[in-house]
Symmetry: C2
Subunit: 287 residues, 2 copies
């Protein structure tokens, strides 16, 4: 079935309202388009939950810290709509920038501590932009549930804080990262990699797995974990590692000692493409 | 009828949800308590619109820039509930601070240009705190309409920008300022004035009326208007005028020339009490 493609906020509200009147619960999968198997997993998960599934496709200028990244961000609307159709999406909300931002917004969301490290440290304003557009999408689509990938672990943490702090009546569902057979996390930005870069890109996940192995063996010193993982990533090639950090899985603050659930997260520049990935690890209680 | 007094967010959601199921539209009158005839006017207006009327009573610490002001803010819950009962309020949402802020919020609303002048200039963070709590109240109560007094003109403008920028599905209704017979705008803070201060307090409105008279006579130079109004206020007594400004009625930016609808707004310290007031004026087209 072809999804209902909606470009206006008013039509989207009307479609959602009709679905809700008909007894459906509403699911939102917010995306920036260039859909891949990771997005498909989010949509399938929403579909399984048996809801009226809305996919939003909007490349949000507010969350780009570099104009060239916004410019070069892949846009593949036609194949995106085909994927949505094949997965049984009910409605696609695909507004133009002027529909979402008819004015430069005076009111925005400010994200505090959870955005202080990792990507937040290297992309000033990025998570304010993410939180602002997610807030808008939640108000427009009024979902009962919204689905986000764990690949963007800090984004997921920011959204959870957003919901908590503003009492948003929506359940956030985190969905496991989908990977290529060599471990590379699926990302719309992978499309930018040339053949050689694509060959090098799995180094990030290899380093994160090294970190996970150390933690699984009982290592609790974050520095030891980070050094080993970074060495593994850098060993292969002269790729620029932007950060590699061990943070608390809830609040995204760096830890020195691994005493509970942590995320080991990294950002790696492969040529002019920036890739991120992470693994979640629990402190191991050794026998 | 005694209103349903609700201290928890969950109970409030349940009560609102039941009312909506029963076909009611939901009206919210957000207050910090110490209710007076100005609040009564907001409630009556909501009542006239024939809705399920929720009054929130919450002294929001996030919007106080001075600890002593928060400390001294009048709290009169018992008579507040009596007034709500007598006006036919359906539900009072009166949470404790820990219910609204179980954590120090990581995500808050940041208010830009509309908060740069007037009270925003003298009360750093005030409107971020207002916008943040209003966003939370809107998410908890999910009103179709919310009512705010025009006495707090900049607050009303901030709330309108909040609704616009985040696509909040709520209509904002501004309600005319209620005044004592000598012109003093009703305010919870008036309760703090001693007899002599109470006698002096109407000077602010007298100055604003002077400004309005000049504009009505065709004066378009904001400086001339401001000087005359300030002189009128200062003539009476050595009261400290914090600001007196002529701003655009929508975006709250100071104007040099009065070319459309403006607000003349002032803040006056009477002893240790800070009072604000404003008048709305249109440029007069002289024959």
């Amino acid at each position: 079935m072809t999804p209902n493609v909606l470009e206006s906020i008013a039509h989207t509200r009307a479609a959602v309202s009709a679905a809700r009147q008909a007894g459906s619960r509403i699911a939102l999968v917010p995306t920036m388009g260039a859909l891949h198997a990771g997005h498909a997993r989010l949509i399938e998960r929403a579909r399984q939950d048996g809801q009226y599934v809305v996919v939003s496709i909007f490349v949000n200028p507010l969350q780009f810290d570099r104009p060239d990244d916004l410019e070069r961000y892949p846009r593949t609307m036609e194949s995106d709509l085909q994927m949505c159709a094949s997965l049984g999406v009910d409605a696609v909300f695909a507004p133009v920038v002027g529909e979402m931002y008819p004015h430069t917004p005076t009111c925005t969301v400010h994200v505090g501590a959870v955005a202080n490290y990792l990507c937040g440290q290297y992309r000033p304003g990025h998570f304010d932009g993410v939180a602002t557009v997610v807030m808008k999408l939640f108000q427009i689509v009024t979902p009962d549930r919204a689905y986000f990938g764990e690949k963007d672990a800090q984004q997921l943490a920011v959204v959870r804080h957003l919901v908590r702090d503003f009492n948003l009546p929506v359940d956030i569902v985190g969905v496991k990262t989908v990977r290529e057979s060599d471990g590379l996390a699926l990302s719309s930005r992978n499309a930018r990699l040339d053949q050689e870069e694509r060959r090098l890109a799995p180094a990030l996940y290899a380093g994160l797995l090294e970190a996970a192995r150390l933690i699984a063996r009982g290592e609790t010193r974050a520095n030891v974990v980070k050094t080993a993982a970074a060495a593994r990533i850098r060993a292969a090639r002269p790729l620029r590692l932007e950060y590699l950090e061990v943070v608390d899985a809830q609040n995204m603050q760096p830890v020195e000692r691994i005493t509970g659930r942590v995320i080991v997260a990294g950002a790696l520049w492969v040529g002019s493409t920036r890739l991120i990935d992470n693994v979640r690890c629990d402190k191991v209680v050794l026998p």
